[in-house]
Symmetry: C2
Subunit: 340 residues, 2 copies
DNA sequence: AAATGTTGTTAAATCGATTTAACAGCGCAT
DNA sequence: ATGCGCTGTTAAATCGATTTAACAACATTT
């Protein structure tokens, strides 16, 4: 049994396909189509389980009911958790998700945006890499709904959802200082992205206030984890006087813990640890790692709410909004009072 | 500047759109279109960056260049890692991915399959829940390329990619026994899926050989982690004489470790631990947890290879193939020799 | 009686591509 | 001069929907 088309339905009922289309799109009253006909059509459509071909529909209407979701890396627990929540909300609202990972690669991202465009996605959710400003601006100029998250682009006037990165690291660094730590390093991925810069700045501000010297180690990101672990190992070996480290992301944090285990460093007596992001690895480490937990649900909710809002009301005149969410600071054993 | 259509190109060059289409689809020679014309068209198309509207193309050709990927839960590290790899391979071959999480919910999965169908995806990659047999068979009957993975469906003759679950747990249980453990429990999610049944059976077979009594605890899956942790806690509290536990999945394993930490159980002296799946949580736990590592890359590679193969050669006559991959058994501190 | 309005329905255009079938123009054999 | 084959190109049909503009038939107004 092959797929039925609207014409098959029309022929079978001896009505025109126009009528069928009107009825199926809830325009029966508006077009004052006979009640009895409406019922007959609906009954039959229900009976044979006819579903309009969504490709044809999209071609004609220009709407696809698909949202394009671009994360940095879907296998990163932070992004996969967000993706999952966004997926749920989207499906509940009749939208599907096409997703992809950008790897923070501008060229790849550009291609992906073009692909999404080509597929006529109705809206874009993007954790944007740097260098993609023009492409996003071009999307905006063409009236496409776009929501950025996790970071934003300074010269792009798009809606975005973020957390308060600066305060989060400021606060966590303050905590380390209050616990008596004096030589606090910040290890992070080399990146000019807004969220990473803000995290770094929060760290700097807290240290400045106390007059301690900042020690920052930036790691070049690499798919191969060994190439992340190696520089962290070198760094920790060289800087023996450190009494605390602050990891800038969950990925750095995880690799950092591997290094700490590998070198046999005792936490927190040799070295206190704090990390951005929070997940099972940190909770289950011995001792449990103090971490800044991003409000995943709230982020996903905000993102989808903002986007759906833009999708439903074609209100061009609302200027862009930015949502900044607070984080939770989960203090655990890895950063308790220094014994010095 | 709005999107150009093939007609715009045709008009601008004073050629028919048919000719443009032939040239763009590499049928210029076949249709013996003048070399000079071909060049002129190609140059212009390149210049203005014209891209055919893929919706229209799909509508006409019936191909969408989209693969539907249905995992159990994209936020599970096992599935997100696989998804990532599949995504890469798919993009490299000109395919895009629409993904979704089934939650092992038959109804939800059925809806999703229908949605994929409606979107004319070219192929399906599915980690199928039970009860979806008829739907998959219906896909197969209609000649759709389908590859199952992580598990299969006994009454469905589809290609699938799996690991050797039975041997993996058999082998790991044997290891525990050789280390001197005698009261080995198996904690897993209640599920009739083939992979879970096989794991359970491997455990049983190993115990049978040794004459030890199996102790199995099945947990009802729940989104809310507390409802997984609670029954594990109860179980471990009640069965004091256990000297080893085997967790059936990464998720159960992670929750199990939380329970173990919560109860202050010493590993491995109080209780040895082995888990299915392997990831950072297990590597970084103290002591590191012995785990069965699935060959993620090999699984993703096999899945995509089988699917692309079906997509390219429309060879109906090749009977279905099943690929069974081997796992790695990573022995760590959590299962070393019992001191009894 | 002509004009206007109302009601219920539909023919035809459209979205943007692919594909089939045909056509114009030319050389060449009959 | 007629027919055939070859070359290069294209008009028209098609995919399956939505949407515009119109039409038939009857009622009502002027």
């Amino acid at each position: 049994m092959k797929k039925l088309s609207i014409i098959d339905i029309a022929n079978h009922l001896n009505v025109s396909k126009t009528t069928i289309s009107f009825i199926l799109n809830g325009r029966a009253e508006e077009k004052r189509i006979g009640k009895e006909l409406v019922e007959r059509v609906q009954k039959f459509v229900e009976e044979v389980g006819y579903k309009p071909n969504s490709l044809a529909k999209s071609l004609r209407t220009g709407k696809s009911n698909i949202i394009g979701l671009m994360v940095e890396d879907i296998s990163n627990p932070f992004f996969s958790a967000i993706a999952r929540l966004i997926e749920d909300r989207a499906y509940k609202n009749g939208y599907k998700i096409i997703y992809c990972s950008t790897d923070n690669d501008t060229l790849k991202t550009r291609e992906l945006i073009n692909m999404f465009r080509d597929r006529h996605v109705d809206g874009y959710i993007i954790a944007p890499p740097q260098g993609i400003e023009d492409d996003i601006n071009s999307l905006l100029k063409d009236g496409m709904p776009v929501v950025l998250f996790d970071r934003h682009l300074p010269n792009v006037n798009a809606d975005f959802v973020e957390i308060d990165n600066l305060f989060s690291t400021y606060n966590a660094t303050k905590h380390l200082i209050q616990q008596g730590y004096k030589n606090i390093a910040f290890i992070t991925f080399a990146s000019g992205q807004t969220q990473m810069q803000a995290r770094l700045q929060g760290y700097h501000e807290a240290l400045n206030e106390s007059g301690y010297k900042p020690v920052v180690q930036e790691i070049i990101f690499n798919q191969n984890e060994d190439l992340i672990i190696a520089p962290i190992t070198n760094f920790l070996k060289k800087n023996k006087k450190l009494d605390a480290v602050f990891f800038g992301t969950n990925h750095v944090g995880t690799c950092g813990l591997k290094v700490i285990n590998g070198l046999g460093i005792k936490v927190p007596s040799d070295l206190a640890v704090v990390s951005f992001d929070d997940y099972d690895v940190f909770k289950l480490f011995s001792p449990p790692v103090t971490a800044i937990a991003q409000p995943i649900e709230a982020i996903a909710d905000s993102v989808i709410t903002v986007l759906l809002n833009k999708l439903n009301t074609s209100s061009q005149h609302i200027s862009s909004q930015s949502i900044i969410l607070k984080t939770d600071f989960n203090i655990r054993e890895s950063s308790k009072t220094a014994t010095s």
